[in-house]
Symmetry: C2
Subunit: 501 residues, 2 copies
Amino acid sequence: MTVEKYGIFELKIVGAADPVATFTCGADSIKVSGFQSGEGMYAVRFMPKKEGEWKYSVKCGDSEKTGSFECVKNSGINHGPVEADGTAFRYADGSVFAPVGTTCYAWIHQPVELIEETYKSFENAPFNKVRMCLFPKHMPYNHNDPDLYPFEKDENGGWDVNRPCFKFWDHFDSCMMKLMDMGIEADLILFHPYDRWGFSKFSREEDFIYLDYCIRRLSAYRNIWWSLANEYDFVGTKTKDDWEAFGEKVNADDPYGHLLSIHNGMLIYPKTDWMTHVSIQHKVVANVSKWIREFNLPVIIDECGYEGNIEFGWGNLSAFEMVHRAWISVVKGGYITHGETYYREDEVLWWAKGGKLYGESPARFAFLKNLQYEIGVLQPTTFRALSDPNNPPDESAMGEHAPFFRALLALPEDERANKIAELTPNMGKNENYSLQYLGRSCPLFMDSMLPENGTYRVEVIDVWDMTRKTVLDGVCGRIKIPLPAKEGIAVLSTRLSGDNF
Amino acid sequence: MTVEKYGIFELKIVGAADPVATFTCGADSIKVSGFQSGEGMYAVRFMPKKEGEWKYSVKCGDSEKTGSFECVKNSGINHGPVEADGTAFRYADGSVFAPVGTTCYAWIHQPVELIEETYKSFENAPFNKVRMCLFPKHMPYNHNDPDLYPFEKDENGGWDVNRPCFKFWDHFDSCMMKLMDMGIEADLILFHPYDRWGFSKFSREEDFIYLDYCIRRLSAYRNIWWSLANEYDFVGTKTKDDWEAFGEKVNADDPYGHLLSIHNGMLIYPKTDWMTHVSIQHKVVANVSKWIREFNLPVIIDECGYEGNIEFGWGNLSAFEMVHRAWISVVKGGYITHGETYYREDEVLWWAKGGKLYGESPARFAFLKNLQYEIGVLQPTTFRALSDPNNPPDESAMGEHAPFFRALLALPEDERANKIAELTPNMGKNENYSLQYLGRSCPLFMDSMLPENGTYRVEVIDVWDMTRKTVLDGVCGRIKIPLPAKEGIAVLSTRLSGDNF
């Protein structure tokens, strides 16, 4: 038998409860706990991260079985799980990954025809990550009950966490597999506040049993990310202590160290050891560079509002505003997640249920994503000339704005820091590229500075019209860039030769 | 001789220096100092604020002259000086005044043909206040020297503050008179940082001589407002102590108590006794309701950026963004000042030099101004239901958003206050009207609550297209308002009968 690297090897075990397997390849030895997959049926899933012959032995009670399989090179779109890489991401095989996510919280809880429609939308959309809940969701536009729940009920009508609903989990497996085949990361939300069924009211013991099952059953999917919560601070039934316990448990028990984070409602969760990246809800996306500095981890603004027209402020951004926020986040070295909430009588809104995408922003996310993959990871720039009061620019460099610069340098330290953040352009750089997004500013031209030694190309990008136009070529040093004096313009400078940016 | 109430009575005195006059009408007695108006010529100006016979006596050295004039009822557009009225304004005769200002810092320092063009623009524009400097201005797009300066030079080439340039001041008088005849308030900036001539480098004594002359010569104009500074904190040559001394002096010496404020670059000037209103530079105009609360004075955002396309972030707002900021300021109970900075090769930009208006926002300021005068002064609303943690809304009122509301109520006090401010709609009320501006939100409908007892009309306003459409009429209580799902929409509810808003 052969399994691709980062693929899933599954052992089915009939009758023997609580299997535990050890997988060995050369010096590598990994212990994996199995899970109940049906009445009297168990399984162990394993994701090999190394090519070669893997031997295994499975203990079920007193008996022990052994076997082996051949792990072969990954191929096609299989690049392995996504990992944090500094303040960016990459796939385990080293390939580039830039998360361009979307949000469909309860898509797995919808009727099968709707799920099929969602798959079609995924196939035609640019999104390579989806934020989704394991539990069903109760909220405006989320009133239908799902066909299946993760657990069976006990004799008192409560949930019995020790009795998984196998039909639910089989369905969930099929969803995960389909996403994996489409190259989409599943940013799986384990807890959330919008609950009318009682899933948010488990005891700590029940929560652990639930988490345990998730980890045993799902962690072999290379495309899973653990999101402890959607809006942790809105989950009135859990405390900081709970979230810490969950984070530590998932971190300790997941054999593969999948990406792990927690998403806020209002208060951003502080940095912890188990956190691999930062998952933020905030509408002021320009803060992303500050959060990158503070956390020194990749930052995804997983909720900045949604393109749509519903009655809630978070759900009626214009398509332009959604795209505008995405560009700010990306040029400042972060990532952002799309969402769509166009009103429909049938309550099938993409943000919750999937279905069809109606908006104008996905095409612009595709355009931006192409650029992200073309130019690679960006580091945010700071308004450096003014950030050091002991080394201010000289008066001649201040020019006619000298009164402003002097006042800025005279500000108290924290006020100066805030002002400098506000003044810092939406701009990111790496050695070959410098990308600035002008946002809602509408200049007719821009004075700018390229390195003195080299040749550079300057393109003007219209983020809404999705056009790129070279306006200067082979230039260096001080330049004047002609611009179209409209909102939604970015300027991309490319190094053709000479000094890095 | 007759003079209108709030008009100017001027006594010309030849040869006798330092005249001081006392004007008496019934129990009112007002002492007014004169000023030198030419070589060997002096004048005393007086603005009567009461109808009837005014008697005066003028002392010049040892001699004394007496006389009288008849003060008659004000007429036409003469409503007297503007005064603060709580957190709003009114004219001295009780008429409504809502400042809808614009900015032409150095228009008086331009060639006469350009000044004539500026007057034409004023006549056709909605603006009833102009921010303007007494001293000339040095800055990008401000490179031409004026023909006249306020003072003559001494033998060393420095300014002699004891020798006013009478040609300058005669010119300035003609500008003031013209503005007065057009019903435009002159928000006169007494000091500013953008100086290559040395006017910002006077000693305290020289500053006082200059201020003294301004007050003696200009305070009889009913349309003058004193703005101690443009961007006081960028004037590196003055200290807090200077500004306080200037404020106290103007307040003490101006016989009429004209409006008096000071405008910031970055740090808003703290409240003082001499301040009649707040003149703010800030781009986050939604703070206006916070500033109104803090200062308990009228608040004008005199600089929030300018409609234009120049290279500086403050000078390249789209016309929509300029209008958007105006609506936010106004519905939250404040006021805002327009400005325009469209690039021109000849450097004649409205914001500095006047000339022609090219932008699309002035027509929208006119539309908004009409509405302001129609509905009267608005008080900003707060997100009241959530502002008192001891009296939270009950669970049923929280509805499906209960997790969010509970989390909000659980926030630390200052974070809760910030969040509530952020959540508070852009909305103002008085007894007859409720006006909400939806800004960049694009809902298809809005659930809202009118008083239960009465009949009300609901209009949907498009702030850009300048249209008003009645969508509900004769309704009360809980309503659902159909909306066009686009940016720049406001909702005006009008009481037809029954309970006040």
